[in-house]
Symmetry: D2
Subunit: 135 residues, 4 copies
């Protein structure tokens, strides 16, 4: 069991009706995607065709910031606010879509873009899965 899952189990109050597996999966996907986007933006900077990758860098920087924030919000359970959670998950899914689409364009040429696209797709799906389960 991951540390994320263990800490969720150690939360001292009732978590309500949330799907624990989807919540854990979403936190883990946010964290993974944030790091992948940070690394991909940096790898872009070291490519010889960096001038073709400026949109990719910008989108990855946004995605890293939003995924980190989403992972933090989802790691808090005290005084749960459904409106905040939903709006943050929507923003995260939207940004992962944008970043995944942009990395997709460069995936044939750059392995980091292929890996980053995969992380963005996983995170987008994890956010959508969690949003759907919130009813």
């Amino acid at each position: 069991m991951s540390v994320v899952a263990q800490l969720l189990d150690a939360y001292p109050k009732d978590l309500g009706k949330v799907d624990r597996d989807k919540l854990v999966a979403c936190v883990e996907a946010c964290i993974e995607c944030a790091q992948a986007c940070t690394a991909c933006a940096d790898a872009d900077l070291s490519e010889s065709d960096v001038a073709e990758l400026t949109k990719c860098i910008r989108t990855c920087l946004d995605c890293a910031d939003i995924c980190e924030t989403t992972g933090r919000v989802l790691s808090r359970h005290t005084a749960y606010d459904a409106n905040v959670t939903r709006s943050v998950l929507e923003a995260c899914a939207t940004t992962c879509r944008a970043s995944g689409d942009e990395c997709h364009r460069h995936a044939p040429h750059h392995a980091h873009c292929r890996l980053c696209e995969e992380a963005c797709r996983r995170c987008e799906h994890a956010c959508r899965d969690l949003l759907d389960s919130l009813g």
Copy 2:
């Protein structure tokens, strides 16, 4: 002119139809609100009635994270993506509303909650103003 405004003027490409004044105001409000929420959550921890302030702390922590991310996304103009900007502004306004409402409950007792509520209201309005101006 603030450093935020000066840097916006120094951006080398066309910014499109965005309302520069509303954009600057929103970045400044996000930054101010993020710091206020961080300070308010900490001040809550040092109050003798901290047990009554746990919802305030949680909401302020979320708001600090989302305002910082929103301030960053709005400080980037390369490869502007309207969907990302809108969804992040919606999440920020939603969270500022929640945080402002919670601080409002404690404003009669704690000066930091009154100050933080004011910063949250300013940021919520700045986000809504910018969203409206995006058409």
Copy 3:
């Protein structure tokens, strides 16, 4: 192989003499510790003895911020600056020590503090290991 490790392998330029295994371990430890500290601070807020946990909350909040920043700095390799890397690793190790020590005091009573202490110790050691390997 983790996504962190895969992205490191996909970096297009020479990484210099850095120990790749220690670098990957440190990024992973930073990310894990940041999430654990965010979750532990929130779990503290939901404990009935929250008034006894305010130092733990504060230290965990600092540790989450510094671990996230360290994970980001270590995920970038373009134009490596040894002074920046060292000073950030020192700050991270120092903060993980403080947070681990404080969580240690509460570990007998709260499972989340025990888990968080373990994450802080792993991250402190990973930072020290990487610092030592930098020579």
Copy 4:
């Protein structure tokens, strides 16, 4: 009086011997520098000579992250830990120096680098001033 200063005055417990003016100045400088670095890195991405600016982008990204974290740590006063504060201020001053030096190289050509260099210098000095005052 800035919102940063007002919130410091609203902190409910004793702040110890810290120099309030230097503390406020440092929080404000960190926040200003973080935003300037985020905006400068993005402006770099939109310059036609982006391939010459990759070191500047990387250093600005690090500096934005570290300045934000430093501004957060300095905005918290509960259970003050001198070792954490010092190590974070050292890391921030070191990174602002690196970022200011790199922006200095591009300041003759790019107004955003000139503005960002100024923000980095102010923040480095504010960190050093606060460190010195801590004794």
